[in-house]
């Protein structure tokens, strides 16, 4: 089989070929590495490509397959990891100059689980520095390009992961989502991105941005692959006190193209806030399609939605200002040169190491947590967060899922919003509420405009990943958006 075809495989397709020995993991991995070689100078999805480790793991997978041992769906599958997840002995930079040389001494729990499942890590993907951003332009190293239009942004912050999946530089990837950082770039790049329920996937080894919002999730070529990855990464981790001690279902069991009687809520507020007509049209067509398959839908109102963005921009920077305090040049990473005393060393390190967006958020968060402002900002934001959560609780009494656009627009041009931070942040207006409420949400491709993908967001109650997957799967079975490939021109 030709390289392009091998690299374009889904996890499920690759598994069939590996299991029946039509292809080896080495062949598959080499095909992916050649694909990266061929296109990543244009896409720039990877911060580091780990060819040697990948080939070693591929050979280990091949030995296992050859020995006739039973193999799991991820054995031998080339997968990319967002560069904010710790990989032992492999650079983990968070796309920040402050961690330009940082090699962790341990693997994140998800990385360990993927390795145990036989997956082959091909590289670490680019992101907005410390996952702060919506376009991957805030990377401390270089921006990533949207495979559908190289002049467009891939979205962010998991833009490296979504672009690498869209460009067939891996079979699937892991991203992390704090305010939409999996779903929004998945929408921009025309791939599937799932943000699980808060606590469903261990955060141990995920370099923290905003601890109460961060979740790791799959970025895949179709819904089936998202379920396959979830089966491996979900579950209680004794190293993460916030991970949920709830049994993990077999998510592939949810992949039934049946939405009969399903109650869909369409919150009207998600169609304001800068939603373009094309995006709204595509989402409504998707809802109509689901209705034609037997689902019912009704418009509804979630009155506190407009407070999601401001609430998020208090809570996330507050937590970030504390989480990022450890980058002080004392133990690892960048150290400011020739400082006469510790305080000067801290200042120089952080001034040289952090980019403008990170500095801005640290300042906002520091301000919001200061005595005298705490009540007016942080505490108030926590109260609004409760109201937003209650909006969802009420909605899920009536509906099985809520459907909305993932992002109000298709991918914007690189540089287009760089000088307009508010417009940039508006790209996450539909995704942020799910993080604040801790509920699962998936983005799947549901149309195109000007050759750029449009994303459909399906939100479900806490631990309701299965119903979100089922709706997404039913939609996918009746459309072919997920099968389209960018030409990388």
């Amino acid at each position: 089989m030709a390289d392009t075809n091998l690299a374009a495989l889904t996890l499920r397709e690759a598994h069939e070929l590996l299991k029946t020995k039509q292809v080896t993991s080495r062949e598959l991995t080499e095909a992916v590495l050649r694909r990266i070689e061929a296109v990543d100078n244009k896409v720039k999805a990877f911060v580091s490509v780990t060819s040697e480790i990948a080939l070693e793991r591929a050979e280990a997978a091949d030995r296992k397959i050859a020995s006739g041992e039973p193999i799991g769906p991820l054995t031998g599958a080339p997968i990319a990891i967002k560069d904010n997840m710790c990989t032992r002995g492999v650079l983990t930079t968070c796309s920040s100059k402050i961690l330009y040389n940082y090699k962790p001494i341990y693997d994140a729990t998800v990385v360990e689980r993927l390795a145990d499942a036989g997956a082959v890590m091909v590289g670490k993907t680019n992101l907005d520095e410390f996952a702060m951003g919506s376009s991957t332009e805030n990377s401390g190293f270089f921006p990533t390009h949207n495979p559908w239009n190289l002049a467009a942004a891939p979205g962010g912050s998991s833009g490296g992961s979504t672009a690498s999946v869209a460009a067939d530089e891996c079979l699937a990837a892991l991203g992390s989502d704090t305010g939409g950082s999996i779903r929004q770039p998945a929408s921009f790049c025309g791939v599937v991105g799932l943000k699980p329920t808060y606590g469903r996937v261990s955060r141990y080894g995920l370099v923290a941005f905003a601890s109460s919002l961060d979740q790791i999730g799959p970025v895949t070529k179709d819904v089936t692959d998202a379920a396959l990855l979830m089966n491996v990464i979900a579950g209680k981790d004794p190293c993460d006190s916030t991970s949920l001690d709830v049994p993990v279902p077999d998510y592939t069991k949810a992949l039934v193209p049946d939405v009969k009687g399903l109650r869909i809520g369409v919150p009207k507020e998600y169609f304001g806030m800068g939603t373009t007509a094309e995006v709204a049209d595509s989402v409504w067509q998707a809802i109509e399609l689901l209705r034609s398959l037997g689902a019912e839908y009704r418009e509804t109102s979630m009155p506190n939605t407009e407070y999601g963005l401001p609430t998020y921009y208090i809570i996330a920077p507050s937590e970030a200002s504390s989480n990022l305090a450890r980058y002080d040049g004392v133990r690892y990473g960048l150290r400011g040169k020739s400082a006469p005393d510790p305080v000067t060393m801290f200042l120089k390190t952080r001034d040289e190491g952090f980019g403008a967006e990170v500095k801005q958020r640290i300042m906002i968060g520091t301000y919001a947590l200061s005595a005298g402002y705490y009540d007016a900002y942080y505490l108030k934001a926590q109260k609004v967060r409760t109201l937003l959560r209650q909006d969802f609780e009420r909605a899920f009494e009536e509906f099985d899922v809520l459907i909305s656009p993932t992002s109000p627009t298709v991918a914007f041009g690189l540089g287009e919003r760089a000088d307009d931070p508010f417009a940039m942040k508006l790209a996450d207006v539909c995704t942020i509420p799910a993080n604040l409420a801790g509920i699962p949400a998936i983005s799947i491709p549901c149309g195109f405009h000007n050759g750029l993908p449009i994303g459909l967001q399906i939100m479900a109650p806490g631990l309701g990943e299965e119903v979100a997957l089922r709706v997404a799967y039913a939609f996918e079975q009746n459309t072919d958006y997920h099968k389209r490939k960018p030409t990388l021109g």
């Binding site: 710790c86 190293c239 504390s322 133990r331 947590l369």
Partner: protein
Amino acid sequence: MADKLQYEPIIGMEVHAELLTDSKMFCGCSARFGGEPNSRCCPVCLGLPGSLPVINEKAVQYVVRTALALNCQITHQSIFHRKNYFYPDLPKGYQISQYGETPIGQYGWIEITVDGRTKKIAIRRVHLEEDTGKLLHVEGDRSEVDYNRSGVPLMEIVTENPPPTGLDQIQSAEEAREYLVRLRAILTYIGVNDGKLEEGSLRCEPNISLRPVGTVEFGVKTELKNLNSFRAVHKGIDYELARQEKVLRQGGKIVQETRRWDDARGVTAPMRSKEFEQEYRYFPEPDLTPLRFDPEWIEGQREALPELPDQKKRRFVEEFDLPEYDAEILTDSRPMAEFFEETVKLSGDGKAVSNWMMGEFLRLLNATGTEVEQSKLTPPHLTEMLRLVSEGVISVRIAKTVFEEMFNTGKRAADIVRNLGLTQIADESQLLPTVEQVLDENPKVVQDVLDGKDKSFAFLVGQVMRYTKGRANPQLVNQLLRDRLQARSG
């Protein structure tokens, strides 16, 4: 005018106690003191990117037990906070602590007695946090950091000023010292802390201020650090009270600051100014879920508490008829109380054991700077010595020599007595020649005695004891001397 003003001290006590858990507060690393620098560390206590804390349940249990022993209420939903500040020994850039209204324990008290007056000192909070690493200054302009201590569980106990109705506050150096003595006793009894002020596993930082008698508002306070012994606590606070009074009497102002006690020079000196409240940006730790305590579990912890110092003291007074003061000293530390009880169990004579411990034992412990638990003298040793005394094998005077020898060498009393030939001489035929010799050598004294000067008789007894190196049975010496004197006069 100002000279006639009377000032009264207000003292707040902030005590940090390292918990005796095997592992650290939020990871599995050893919490033991020392070790090769940075040998007891992992991603969590080094604060490496991506690492997350997991609560040590044993540490929580220890704090709950302490809070119960201090008569505190247990907070039903207790939460951890981040205290944010930059320092090289703080690897995450924040310390996980407990702030505000939700520490594990609140609103308790400790009873202390000073100069016969009993006070119930109000305790505001008992909370749990993690210790920091240690900054080591090496030669030149370099510093190194040892993170072995980073993440060791630390309990903080803070008094409440002003106290709620019915409770008291600390108002003198002696009360502060006594508070710390009783607190240490409680902590060591329940086994949550080793009570070593010298090693810093128990640290005390008093806040000290003066206010004119009759006023309500507190004066400006200073905080004292580096109080590494009970003596230092007492002297440091006394010094600081005197210093503040002098400043005020001269019309000066107290600066809010942290001052360091210099034990060698016997003075306090400013460390850093605290004029501006530090901005710690406290907020709830999002990486941890709140602690929720089941009332039944709390009751279980209460029932699991051992006999506490106050209870033990009362029992000693009743059971062994000890003076209140002796019972207090014997119960001030758990090893002391255990030593006493074990020896009483073996010997059966509480009064005698108490006398030896309050006398010789305390004297030797203090003189040599030894802790009870390090003492070479053991309860079986002391019991054997008491038996030798009661059986008349050695005199009480000889017993003091034997005691000191046991204390210094750890040898058994019987061996010491045998090796040094210290057995009592109670044999008339053995003593008689010595008695005769003393009478022969002191004709003038003999005459004085015969003339009715009883004091001189004691001199003769002393001489016999001297010749027999104290081994002579005193009653027998008395009897023989009187017999022989009578014979000579008659």
